[in-house]
Symmetry: D2
Subunit: 346 residues, 4 copies
C-alpha cells in the first residue's frame, strides 16, 4: 500500500531517532531545562537570525496554537483567521475553549488577503458600537495554508505592516513550515522571524515523533512557562522535544527533509497534470489536491492511501496526496502506475 494520506504516517526521521537513542541515558533536568532543549533553542535562534527570540517546545499543533493564542490575547480580544484556517475548522474549538473568539475572514486561496484585513480592522474601529464587540487582538495565518498555498514576502510584509499599525501580533502557524521553506517562494526563516511576532516551527508533520517549536521573536510573555503548565502542555521530559529539534536543526536536516518532500510533490503535481487531473489549488508545497472522478476512488484506495477532502457536485472529489521525508521517488512512480491503470480501466 502506498502511503500518501498524510505527512505523519511514519515515526520520525532516522537521524531524529538516533539522537533520542544516543541521549537516552544521560540524566537531565526536567521541564525544558535539559541541555538538548537549550542547544535546540540556540540552533533555532541562529537559523532565524533572531538572537533575542525565546523558544518553547510543545507536543502538538492544536496545543501550541491554543496555548499561544489563548495566552497572548487579552480577555476582550479575539483572533482573525481565514474561515478555512485550522483553528477555525479543525481544532475542535480549542481557541474558544480558552474563552476567545476566532474572527473568521473570507479566504483567498486559503490565505488572508491584506486588503481585506485592513478593511476589516478599519471597519471595526469605525463602528460606533465596537465596545460591544470582540476586539481584534491577533492575526493568525498558516504557512503553508490548509490548501498548501504560501504567502509571498510582499504579502507577509503587508500583513505585518497592518498588524504593527493596529498594534496586534501576527502569529504564524508553521505546522508544515519545512515544506514552505523548501518551496519555490521568496519567504525565508529569517523573514518570518522578522515579520511575525510569534510563530511555530512544526516538528510532528516534518520529521519528528512529536513537537512544535514556539518562537517569540521579541522575547516571551511574562510567566509563559506557568501558562504552558496550566494548560497541560509542559512535558516533564522536555528532552523528548529538545533532542528531536536539536537533531532537526543541526546540519540543516529540517530544511533538507523539506526539500526532499517538496521535490517529490512537484514531480507528483507534474505527473497529475500530465495525466489530466485538475488541481483544486495550485500548491507549491508537499500537499497536492487533485480532483479525481468518484468512480476511480474505490480502486485507487486499494493501492494507495490518500485523504478525502471534499465531494464536488459533478461526480468528482478533491483528495489530498501528501509527501514527506519518508516518501521516495519510487513511491511517486508507483502511484503514477496505479493512476495509469485506473484511467486505462475507467
Amino acid at each position: 500500500m502506498l502511503t500518501f494520506e498524510n505527512d505523519y504516517a511514519q515515526g520520525c526521521h532516522p537521524l531524529v531517532l538516533k539522537k533520542l537513542c544516543e541521549t537516552n541515558l544521560v540524566p537531565q533536568p526536567g521541564y525544558g531545562a535539559d541541555e538538548y532543549s537549550r542547544r535546540a533553542r540556540q540552533l533555532i535562534r541562529e537559523a532565524c537570525r533572531a538572537p533575542e527570540a525565546d523558544v518553547f517546545f510543545l507536543a502538538g499543533g492544536t496545543q501550541v496554537n491554543a496555548v499561544a493564542i489563548g495566552g497572548l490575547l487579552r480577555p476582550w480580544e479575539g483572533v482573525y483567521a481565514a474561515s478555512t484556517g485550522h483553528i477555525q475548522c479543525h481544532e475542535a474549538g480549542a481557541v474558544e475553549f480558552t474563552g476567545h473568539k476566532v474572527l473568521p475572514l473570507a479566504p483567498s486561496h486559503g490565505k488572508i488577503d491584506p486588503a481585506r484585513l485592513r478593511r476589516e480592522l478599519e471597519g471595526f474601529y469605525a463602528d460606533p458600537n465596537h465596545e460591544h464587540m470582540v476586539f481584534p487582538g491577533m492575526v493568525y495565518i498558516s504557512h503553508p495554508s490548509e490548501y498548501g498555498t504560501l504567502y509571498t514576502r510582499a504579502e507577509l510584509t503587508a500583513l505585518s505592516d497592518i498588524c504593527k499599525k493596529f498594534r496586534i501580533p501576527l502569529y504564524m502557524d508553521g505546522a508544515r513550515l519545512a515544506y514552505a521553506l523548501a518551496a519555490d517562494n521568496d519567504v525565508t526563516l529569517p523573514d518570518i522571524a522578522r515579520l511575525c511576532d510569534v510563530f511555530t516551527i512544526g516538528g510532528t508533520k516534518c520529521g519528528a515523533l512529536c513537537g512544535e517549536a514556539l518562537v517569540f521573536t521579541k522575547g516571551a510573555p511574562e510567566h509563559f512557562l506557568t501558562l504552558i503548565k496550566q494548560r497541560g502542555a509542559l512535558l516533564a521530559k522536555g528532552r523528548l522535544c529538545g533532542a528531536q529539534f536539536e537533531a532537526l536543526f543541526e546540519d540543516g536536516l529540517y530544511f533538507e527533509l523539506g526539500r526532499s518532500a517538496v521535490a517529490l510533490a512537484m514531480a507528483l503535481k507534474e505527473g497529475l497534470l500530465a495525466r489530466g487531473f485538475a488541481l483544486f489549488e495550485d500548491s507549491p508545497t508537499n500537499q497536492q489536491f487533485p480532483v479525481v472522478p468518484d468512480a476511480l476512488l474505490p480502486e485507487l484506495s486499494k493501492s494507495a492511501a490518500y485523504s478525502f477532502w471534499e465531494k464536488r457536485g459533478d461526480g468528482a472529489s478533491v483528495i489530498r496526496l501528501a509527501t514527506s521525508w519518508a516518501t521516495g521517488p519510487e513511491d511517486v512512480e508507483e502511484l503514477f502506475k496505479v493512476l495509469d491503470n485506473l484511467r486505462g480501466q475507467g
Copy 2:
C-alpha cells in the same frame, strides 16, 4: 428631541413601575422564591400554554443568552447562529467566554434558512474528520431578528423538525418578542413554546427596567439555579424581575405594548415609503431601517435621535428608527414633519 434611537431610552411602562411601588415593602424570600416571581412564572406558563415549562428571570439579554447557551451546550459542542446574529456580532464574545464556539451561517434576511441548516448538519456528520471539529449542539435564532424580520410558522416548524431530527435544542432569543407577537405574522407565543426547546421573553426592550424571562418548555436542566448563580446572574432580590413580569403578563400588558409600538412602526414605515425612502429590510416589527442620504443626517440628528446602522458606498446610510411603548402617534407625525422639512431643504 424625538426619541427613535432605540426601544430602551425610557425607564419602564407606568404599570410596571406601579407594581414595583405597590410591592416594595412586603418582605419576600430572595433568589426568585418570592411570590411575584412565582405568580409571573405561572402567568407565563399560561400565556405559553406550557404547563410543564420552567421559567427563570435574568437581568439582561447578553446574560441570558450566555447562561442558557453556555449552560446547555456540552463541552464539545457549539451553537449555530446567523452570521448577523446578536451572539455572533454584538455580545463581546460572551458565548465564547463560556468556552463554546458560535458556528456562523450565512443569513437570509437576518434569519437562518432551514434548507441551509439541514445541509450544514448533514455535511458535518458526513465529514470523516468531524471528530476534530466542534459538534453542532444547538440552533440559535432571534425573533425578531437583528433586522426586524420574523420567522413564519412554516419556517419555525421546519427549523424545529431539523433540530429534533439531529437531537439538538432550538433556542429563540426573544429580546424583542413583544413586537414579534404583535406583528402581522402567524407565529403565536404557544407556537413558540411548542416549537422551541428554550426561548426568552424580553423585558428590557419591551417595557421593563430590566429582565428577561428564560423559558424551558420541557423543564429546566439539572441544577440550573446553581449555574445561574455561578455565572453571576442570580439576583438576590428576584422580586425586581418577578414583579415586573407579573405586571407585564397580567391583563395582557406585554401584548398591548407590543401592538402599540408595532402600529406606530407600520405608520412610520408607510410614511417613509411615501416620502421615497428605501428600506434596507422589509421589517414588520418595531424597528425600521430606512436608507437616508448622508447629507440629511446632520440636520436630522438635531431634531430626532436615531441609530446609525451602516454606511453604504453610494452617499447614503442605513439608520434605525425604533418605536416602543413610550412612543406616541404625535412623535411619528412630528418625525414626518422633520423629514419633510429636510427634504424640502435638500
Copy 3:
C-alpha cells in the same frame, strides 16, 4: 412575622424608589451613559475623596466579584481569600468559572491576618517550584466579613502595604459596606479608597433593589466596559443602577441607613447578651450571630424569620439575625418579647 432573616427582604428604601419614579420617563442613553449614572459616579468619587476613581454599576454581588476578580487577574494568577470568604464558599465557583483559582487562607474572625498573608506570599516566592503553582495575583477581603467583623485601619493599612510590596491589588468586597461605615470602627470610605485598589459599594443589601458600585481608585483597566459586556453584566438600562446610587449618595442616605441598621443591631446585641445568649462572633455590624438552643428554634421560627447558620455539637445552633433600613425599633422590642416568652417556656 418579624423579618430578621437577612437585609434584602424588602424592595428598596423609599427615597430610592422615589428617584426611580421621578426619572422614569426621561429618555436617556443606554449602557451607563445616562445622566443619573454620571451624577452617581461623581457623588461616589466625592464621598471617597478619590477624584481619579472610575466607577461602574453592576447588578449583583457575585457578578461584580467575578467580573472584577476574573477581569483583573492575569491568566497565571489566583486570588487569596479567607477560607470563609464569600467567593470561596457561597458563589458557586464563579471565580473559578472565569478560569482562576481562589487561594484559601485560614481566617481569623472571618478576616485575613496580615502576618499570615505575608508569610504565605514570602513562602510562595521562596518555593523553588513556584513556577508550577498558581501565582498570587490579588487579595480579596470582605468588609464587613461574612461574620460581621471589620478590619481596623491598622489592619487594612498592613494588608495594603503587603499588597504594594508584592505588587498585587487589594480588593474589598463591600456588599454590606454601609454597615461597616456606620459601625464603631476607624475605617472611613476615603480610607478604603486610599488603601484598596478596587472595592465595591454594595447597594442590594444596603437599600437598593439591585446594584453594586465597582470603584477603581486609580482608574479602570483597559476596555473594562467590553469585559463587563462579555460577562453578561452590562445593563442596557444603566439608569436603573445609576438612579438608585444617585439617591443613595445624595444627602448621605447610604450612610444614614447604615447608621439606623447598626444602631438597632447594637440594641439587639445588648438585648441578646442580657438574655444570656452567647454570640458566635462579636460583630459590630448589622448581622448578629447568637447561639440558640436547638429546642427553641421551632417556636422562634413561628414569630421571627432568621437564617440558620450552623449546628454545633452541643444541642445549640448559630443563627443569623440581620437588621436593615426596613427594621424599626419596635421590631427589635418585639423580638425581645418573643425571646423572653421562649425562654420562659423553655
Copy 4:
C-alpha cells in the same frame, strides 16, 4: 553525580526505546488508531481485568488530570482533593482553567480519610444554602500520594463506597502507579479498576519518555476524543504513546521496573534509618523523604542530586530522594558512602 532528584531524569527504559525503534518506519493511522495503541489498550484491559474499559493515551500528568477532571465534571461541580494533592498545589491551576473548583480536604498522611470525606458530603447536602455552592462532583486521589503513601484496599473500598452512595466518580491519579503496585500493599491493578471509575497509569515517571494511560473502567464518556482534541491533548502520532505502553505492558515490564525501583527505595530507607535520619513520612514507595540537617545539604549536593521539599524550623529540611528503573544498587551504596562521609565530617 548521583541521580536521586526525581524519577524522570533519564529518557525511557531501553525496552521502550527498542519498541520505538522497531516500529518507527511502519506507516500507521494517526490520532490513536495505530496498531500499537490498539494492542496497548488490549494489554492494559487484560492487566486490569477490565474487558469493558476504554483507554486513552495522553502525553503528561497535568494534562491528563485536567482533561479527565474538566471533561467529566458538570458545570456546577467541583472535585474534592487532599489539600496536598497535585491538582491543588502543583498544576498551576489547570483544573480551575477548565472552569471548575478544587475542593480541598485536610489530608491524613497525604491521603483523603474516608470518614472525613463522608462528613464533608453529608454536610454539603445538609446545608440549606448548598445551591449557592459548588456541588461535589468527583473525588480525586493520588496513589502513591504526593508523600509516597498508599491507600490500603480497605481505604480504597471505603472511598469507592462513599462515591457510589453519592453518585460521583472516584478518580485515581496514578502518575507513579508502577511503584504503588510494587510496594508492600494490598491494592492490585484489578482492585483499582474495580474500585475506581477512572484512573491513570503513569508512563512518564515509570519508564516512558512521555505518556499517561487514562482508563475509564466502565467505558468512555461521549465524544471524549473530541474533548481531548479540544484541550490540545490529542497526539497526531498516537503511536508515540501506543508503542511505549505496548512495551511497558507486554511481558510485565511496567511491574518489573516498579519492583526494581521499590526494592532499592526500601534499601535506601533502611540505610537512612540506620544512619539516624528521621523520615518525614513512612513511604513504602520509590520516593523517600528524609529529614536532613541544613548544614549537610551544601556538601550533599556536590555528590548527589536530590529535591528540596521543605524547610523546618529546627535547622533541618525535608528532602526527596527518588529511585527509578535507572537506579542501580551501586547508586544506593554510593549514596550511603556519601552520607557516611558527610556525617563523619559533621
